[in-house]
Subunit: 198 residues, 2 copies
DNA sequence: TCGAAACGGAGAATTATTATCCGTTTCAAG
DNA sequence: CTTGAAACGGATAATAATTCTCCGTTTCGA
């Protein structure tokens, strides 16, 4: 592969990643090639379609999230590991609109490739394992089910931009996560509505 | 006004409201008239532009939210009133994507009319008053600022659809809100990061 | 030096969207 | 019932956006 070709594909991938993070999965190829400073033909010479490029980026991003989840699973303190997982999920989604789009999309439709679906399944497994470890250690309220966790994290992430004319940044997100984690610690309270399978 | 004209405008408004709730503010006029079962000309005979119709709907929806906030402000129990406010904000946003879009839009840009901006300002005032009343009554953790509240509610709302291939509905939203409210009650804990103005 | 590979920009092809024109139908007053 | 105006719906103009391709030119590296 020629050196300029290698450089071009790197420019395109980096630009696509930044553009997807800012604008979401619906970003146009025009926007990507403009940011990369290349022509449209250069993109299509390396990627058969817009969708193929998107999946390349998505696999990269989800892979990093899976790695963060693996690190959280190995934390010696079960609650700290759980908190790390929630923070990682929230941070990744709030800094990457494309990832947020992908996680919100229904896994069956939305045309995700098998590889992306497999990466999501792996992430789901980590969430389940980390949550159940914390619950079994008695540091997490027992009436929380692991399926609630992606939503808690997604919720904390969804609010980093704007709401009602107010702005919350990274600091605001951390405050919301702190409130949530306070509410999630096992300290003996009223059970949640729709109680656990016991 | 002729009877068929009155009926038409009602059909259009109802269809627009439903379509905006489901698809957000970017819904097309085609979708609206298709749902209403009228021709495009009927829409444009009553509303000078797509934007004018959107603002009519938005004022209606925000007005209902303001009414709910007023009811919460009059609750005898300051914490119950606060909880009602959070639940109303979350429910409204989770059942109406258009409202969610509008609240997330920056108030200065986004081309909201003066009337819509005024309605938002009123809603903000209610949030501030209800939050400060609960805090001064000592039932809400003192390190929470009122500006955090729309984000907490928006966060709880943002997660009612899908995440990581999992689905959470109304029940899931209520669980998340319950966790948050548990974390928000004043019971003497570690202060939040980025502590209050004191 | 030179052939092949890569490049960028113009643009084809398609799709979507807002808004309007116009022939036809429906309302309701006399 | 008659009749004129008001309202209607569908076709469609006008515009914009998007994905992807063709082709003449430039750049790499043996």
């Amino acid at each position: 592969m020629r050196s300029d070709a290698r450089r071009s594909v790197e420019l395109v991938v980096a630009a696509a990643r930044a553009a997807i993070a800012e604008q979401g999965l619906s970003v146009s190829t025009n926007e990507i090639v403009k940011r990369a400073g290349v022509g449209p033909a250069t993109l299509y010479r390396r990627f058969p379609s817009r969708q193929a490029l998107l999946e390349t980026i998505l696999l990269e991003v989800v892979g990093e999230l899976v790695a963060a989840a693996e690190a959280a699973a190995e934390s010696p303190d079960p609650f700290a590991g759980f908190a790390d997982l929630v923070r990682a999920l929230a941070a990744a989604q709030s800094t990457n609109k494309g990832l947020s789009d992908a996680l919100a999309a229904e896994s069956d439709s939305a045309g995700h490739s098998d590889a992306v679906r497999a990466a999501f399944a792996g992430l789901r497994d980590h969430v389940r394992r980390i949550t159940e470890r914390a619950r079994e250690a008695g540091v997490l309220r027992a009436d929380l089910v692991w399926q609630d966790v992606p939503f808690l994290a997604g919720a904390a992430a969804g609010m980093s931009t704007r709401c009602l004319g107010l702005g919350a940044g990274k600091a605001g997100r951390e405050r919301v996560i702190a409130v949530m984690l306070d509410g999630l610690r096992e300290t003996g309270r009223e059970p949640l509505p729709g109680s656990p399978p016991s």
